[in-house]
């Protein structure tokens, strides 16, 4: 690594992984959690004509996926700048 000390590189990677784990927990909860495991519980609530669990399974989880991906991209772009490893 010409641009970074080993210690810095380790810290950068650690922060990347911890961000990733947090976001993957959300990824898991909105799809497998709300859409499959807890679907019957959430279906007791209505959002308009949607049962809530059904909404997460067919709509909500997908919106969350989009949000998570962009959030990760922007957080990582900031982290790259902070560690001075961005490509500009």
């Amino acid at each position: 690594m010409s641009h970074m000390t080993d210690e810095k590189a380790k810290e950068y990677w650690g922060r990347n992984v911890s961000l990733m784990i947090k976001l993957l927990v959300i990824w898991f909860v909105v799809s497998f959690g709300f859409g499959i495991i807890l679907v019957d519980v959430l279906n007791q609530f209505q959002v308009g004509g949607y049962k809530l669990g059904f909404w997460f399974a067919q709509q909500g989880s997908i919106y969350c996926f989009v949000g998570l991906t962009f959030f990760y991209a922007s957080k990582m772009a900031a982290l790259d700048r902070e560690f001075n490893v961005d490509e500009d």
């Binding site: 641009h3 990733m20 991209a73």
Partner: protein
């Protein structure tokens, strides 16, 4: 203008655009041919990825599947979108940083082994070939249904178009045609959906219409649908679980990691300039995909409701067969709809009870293909759906064919058989490989093997159980070594194939299945198509176990792992 003329106009128009792009975007180097020169804007790549990803199955079949599965169909919606989150965080940025041309190339270098690269090539080719057969069939079917051209002629026309832009332009030609194809397919999908949502609920957004009340009524559309399907004896639409919770969990997870592991999707992320762009591009791809995937459940529910209310306008009052609408007659001719008057009363009884049901055939594809006609939309919308279906099939076929061709010319030829060929020779070889891949795929399209229907699911199972774990461990672990990775990939594929074959028959020949396709014999109630995730778990377990007993990863390879984890310094890896 009549429908036939309009359809020719739309299909002909879109095809001339694709050819125009092909002439403009010719490939001048192997870098152009494999990764479109590496300078594709992340939003443009997002669109191209969306078209690459959304196949004839997504466009034509998925809404129909959900239509008849109800809540159970959610496995496709979550599975085929959630994989992009994994791709964005776990694979795409690091493989882009690595900066080479193919997926097996990374596996070969990371596991310092030609054998590993060869195993990856085999997995890639099996995944992509099985997948491409479905696209070829989609092209033939779309032509024969909409243009009344013979299936084989239609397929031949489609092959010529793909041949033109992919042999000439490689990834560069494919990228820019995929962008055009995305625009065509997304308009073709959403416009009928908007009309239908307006008709039924008054809301122009299908995503909101699905949760709204029916026009002129206080009843929610989904409540109405639940009611009518239950009156016919089916399970409640919004709670109809597929198999069991465990099965849905496994199915969704298999599709997600299968999606992230499909090589033709991964290589799209090699075309953007920077690591940062690869991350953002995955987000854009997901935005463009979500437009279709959040519309599909509305199409599914509304088409089902429309169909039932056409057949049974008021409860107990069935449609008189002789008074059936024109679209019904049109689609009867194709064999996708079939009626049998069992009680000879001249009316169409539709029921979940097979003894009473007279709608003996409702093909799932009807729900998208006939949707504009059922909703009485103008002819130009129907013509647009034809062009959209073709765009979806062509764009995915081209992406798959490139993945196959590049693994033949770059991994097998340049990487193993003839490492000393010049770039010019390799470019020529890649064009020949592409032409051969198209010919091979066309052959399989003309003579679809008996197992074709079962194999798309197999492609996901293989990608999930072999390629995804190998790539992920290669990036996130410095402990997994050559022996571990090869053993893991072989174990993952073997157990997945074994499970599929024991239930579905060896190579899908039903008589050779030794456990029968019966749910009581399923492991934890998991259906064969959902088994990829179990294969992946086995792959991870075997790879870590074998690695802990064999020689550690060489220092140079550990440095490579450090190198791909950090965005800066992309230039250093280019030694090809």
């Amino acid at each position: 203008m009549d429908l036939q003329t309009l359809t020719y106009l739309f299909v002909g128009g879109t095809f001339s655009v694709y050819i125009g792009i092909a002439i403009w975007a010719r490939a001048g180097s192997t870098k152009d041919f494999y990764v479109a020169g590496g300078g594709v804007h992340p939003i443009a790549n997002g669109m191209a990825t969306a078209a690459d990803w959304m196949s004839a199955a997504s466009f034509i079949s998925m809404a129909g599947l959900i239509s008849f599965m109800g809540y159970g169909g959610s496995v496709f919606l979550m599975g085929w979108t959630g994989g992009f989150v994994l791709l964005a965080m776990l694979l795409a940025p690091y493989l882009r940083k690595y900066g080479k041309f193919t997926v097996p190339e990374f596996i070969g270098d990371r596991y310092y082994s030609r054998a590993a690269r060869a195993v990856a090539v085999v997995c890639l080719i099996i995944c992509s070939v099985t997948y491409v057969i479905g696209q070829m069939k989609g092209i033939g079917v779309a032509f024969s249904r909409f243009l009344e051209v013979d299936y084989n002629t239609g397929l031949l026309i489609g092959m010529c178009i793909v041949f033109f832009y992919s042999v000439l332009g490689g990834m560069k030609g494919i990228t820019y045609t995929q962008i055009a194809q995305f625009v065509v397919l997304i308009l073709a999908y959403t416009i009928p959906a908007i009309f239908i949502s307006l008709n039924l609920t008054g809301n122009p957004f299908p995503q909101l219409g699905l949760g709204s009340t029916m026009t002129g009524s206080e009843t929610f559309l989904l409540d109405r649908l639940d009611q009518v399907v239950m009156d016919l004896g089916f399970n409640q639409y919004t709670t109809d679980v597929r198999g069991s919770g465990i099965n849905m969990f496994a199915y969704t997870m298999s599709l997600m990691i299968g999606t992230a592991g499909l090589p033709h999707v991964i290589i799209r992320f090699f075309t953007v300039p920077k690591v940062r762009d690869a991350r953002a591009s995955a987000g854009w791809a997901l935005v463009f995909i979500s437009i279709l995937y959040t519309t599909a459940p509305a199409v599914a529910a509304m088409a089902r409701l429309n169909l039932i209310e056409t057949i049974e306008p008021t409860q107990g009052e069935y449609l008189v067969y002789d008074e059936r609408p024109q679209w019904f007659k049109n689609w009867e001719k194709t064999g996708l709809l079939a009626f049998e008057d069992k009680n000879e009363d001249g009316r169409i009884q539709y029921s979940s009870d097979a003894n009473v049901n007279e709608m003996v055939k409702i093909d799932q594809d009807i729900m998208v293909l006939a949707n504009p006609e059922i909703a009485k939309l103008p002819n130009w919308v129907i013509a647009l759906v034809a062009a959209g279906g073709l765009a979806a099939a062509l764009s995915t076929a081209a992406g798959l064919l490139l993945a196959i061709a590049s693994s033949i010319s770059h991994d097998l030829l340049k990487g193993m058989i003839a490492p000393n060929i010049t770039e010019k020779q390799e470019l020529r070889a890649s064009r020949i490989a592409m032409a051969l891949a198209i010919a091979g795929a066309g052959y399989l399209g003309f003579n679809p093997p008996d197992f074709a229907a079962g194999t798309v699911a197999l492609a996901f199972g293989l990608a999930a159980s072999s390629i995804f774990p190998a790539l992920m461990m290669g990036i996130f672990s410095k402990k997994v070594n050559r022996e571990g990775a090869i053993a893991g990939m072989i174990a993952g594929i073997s157990i997945t194939l074994f499970y599929v074959f024991q239930h579905k028959g060896i190579m899908f020949v039903a008589s050779t299945s030794f456990l029968g396709d019966m749910s009581p014999n399923w492991f934890l109630g998991i259906e064969p198509n959902a088994f990829g995730v179990v294969g992946a778990v086995v792959n991870f377990a075997v790879a870590f176990t074998v690695s802990s007993f064999t020689a550690a990863v060489p220092a140079k390879v550990r440095e490579l792992v450090d190198y791909i984890r950090i965005p800066v310094g992309a230039e250093e890896a280019h030694d090809h």
